[in-house]
């Protein structure tokens, strides 16, 4: 029998983490995502599953705790919001450089700087293009509902361990704070230390006599070896781009114009489609679920069908660059967005479409 609950997005992530058998959460309070840590501490996961939950002294410490836990083969996570995610970039690039699996939640708020506590999508570049120093990427999942906040936890760990890479859930203040019906999954048992050893033979679990010591590092002072490693990372990202693209299409079959939007913006666009179609405008939506890897191939195909694409984002226009790259200037691509923590109205989006293309 299905278990349904009314939950905030932030609470859904926390409950999903406990139920997925996550071993450790390390975080630091910041609006609008503090409910993740609050929910976890209230739930006593140390009693429910033995999960470690620790409020760190800073976002920097928290992400480095995640580095260590991941390096020791455990399922670990952290969560924060934009200014805090900026602080975590050091740890994230080390995690990518040491090829460690983990989940990082960003409940995005408006910026730059301290910005605002209201929802935004202005961390797209930071999440998708790297964020920290060095050539690396992480898989970025963009939930558009509280249910997806829940479901993407397990998906994150499947992908993170499959590719030994950090996975970011790029949410926003609206998805984190809003309440929706969520179907709750079953409680999974946390892996034992013996099972972790078996699953992650590379992890620092304690050097047994029957193997060489394991080292978790991102350092190689030999440039030739470092370049070989860089090539290996790039090959992994290529593999991810081939195999892990996820997206959803809404009313694209007969579409003459296309919205591209993720997360909260994609929810707005669904209503905008109804408004547009009532006016006789055949509009569809492509919603990237993975922002890296980006659904470029599908966009290229759709560009042969539609007359124009409107990238709708709560930012000054970031994803729109990837949309343009995908369609290679074959059709007009425009951006519409609101900033500073403002969510566009469905009507505004339709107006923008009309202004830019009609």
């Amino acid at each position: 029998m299905k278990e349904l609950r009314l939950m905030k997005g932030n609470e859904a992530i926390a409950e999903a983490a406990i139920r997925a058998g996550v071993d450790g959460y390390f975080g630091y309070p910041i609006t609008p995502q503090s409910e993740v840590l609050e929910y976890l501490t209230l739930q006593k996961p140390e009693e429910r599953t033995g999960m470690v939950v620790l409020q760190a002294e800073s976002e920097v410490a928290a992400i480095n705790m995640v580095y260590a836990g991941a390096g020791a083969g455990k399922m670990v996570m952290t969560s924060s919001s934009s200014p805090g995610i900026s602080l975590k970039q050091e740890g994230i690039t080390y995690i990518a450089g040491a090829e460690l699996p983990c989940m990082i939640l960003n409940v995005v708020r408006g910026g730059p700087g301290l910005g605002t506590i209201q929802p935004a999508q202005s961390d797209y570049f930071q999440a998708v293009k790297g964020g920290g120093h060095g050539d690396y990427k992480m898989i970025v999942l963009a939930p558009a509902s509280v249910q997806e906040m829940y479901d993407f936890v397990e998906l994150s760990y499947d992908l993170a361990f499959k590719y030994r890479t950090p996975v970011m859930i790029l949410s926003d203040g609206a998805i984190g704070q809003m309440m929706e019906k969520v179907e709750i999954g079953e409680q999974k048992t946390r892996l034992t230390d013996a099972e972790v050893k078996e699953k992650c033979p590379w992890a620092t679990t304690g050097k047994d006599a029957n193997r060489e010591r394991n080292i978790i590092t991102s350092l190689d002072l030999d440039s030739n070896k470092q370049e070989i490693f860089n090539h290996k990372l790039q090959a992994k990202y290529k593999e991810i781009e081939e195999a892990e693209v996820r997206f959803e299409e809404i009313e694209t079959e007969d579409a003459e114009y296309l919205f591209v939007a993720y997360g909260t913006s994609s929810r707005i666009c669904q209503k905008s489609i109804q408004l547009a179609r009532a006016k006789g405008l055949k509009v569809g939506l492509l919603r990237p679920i993975t922002l890296f890897p980006f659904p470029s191939k599908r966009l290229k195909e759709l560009s042969k069908q539609v007359k124009g694409i409107l990238s709708v984002e709560m930012s000054a226009g970031q994803m729109v660059e990837d949309v343009k790259l995908a369609v290679e200037c074959s059709i007009p691509v425009e951006h519409f967005g609101r900033m500073g923590g403002i969510i566009p109205s469905p009507g505004e989006v339709v107006e923008a479409l009309e202004q830019k293309f009609l």
Binding site: E57, N64, T204
Partner: protein, 259 residues
Amino acid sequence: MAENIINNDIVKEENLVYKKTPLLTDKPLSYCPGCGHGTAHRLVTEVIEELNAQDSTLGVAPVGCSVLAYEFMDIDMQQAAHGRAPALATALKRLYPEHYVFTYQGDGDLAAIGTAETIHACNRGENITIIFVNNGIYGMTGGQMAPTTLPGMKSSTSPYGREVETMGAPLKMTELVAQLPGTYYVTRQAVHTPAAVRKAKKAIKKAFENQKLKKGLSFVEIVSNCNSGWKMTPNQANQWMVDNMFPYYPLGDIKVPEE
């Protein structure tokens, strides 16, 4: 006659009076001749061997001269971002509470960029061991001023000597963390003489054994030299350390558990 004795006559099991612990790898140390790191590494690995804990010890290497500590210790290790070693050790210990977990850090790493991580790991009373090698300088990056650089001491970024008025006084991290309820055992040692080495070994062993008691963090500072950074010969550096570092950083236990 002495000239008739060849090497093979000497290198025999029965003649062995000293050998390196098997937990030190065969890789040649990257430290400068005369540096205290080699001895400190040896003591840490000897203690792990004596505790029979190769398979249940997780070490954390810092950024600094000992960034490659994992090359020399035959145990599972993680290399931390600069200053973050106590955060790593916190997570490792929480996730593997029965393992021995230690960090091995220098003074730039622990007392400058990692101050927050150090103080909070100590304050939470993490059941870990911190080995803090203090040579009053950034060695790896080429002899820059550290928080621990002595007043008047020259470095590449305090070429006219450290001025306390503008650069602050040397930070006594060990005395500082001893004030925190979360630390269980805090001591300052050195490795410049055989007697000092024996004392330091005892302190490190105690600091590891304490982890089983789960009563808080054990912190072992090792005041050491940096003959390259100080621009001295190894002997001069050791003497300078005795004459200048020890008065500011006096050796001995600072916080000892009540019996």
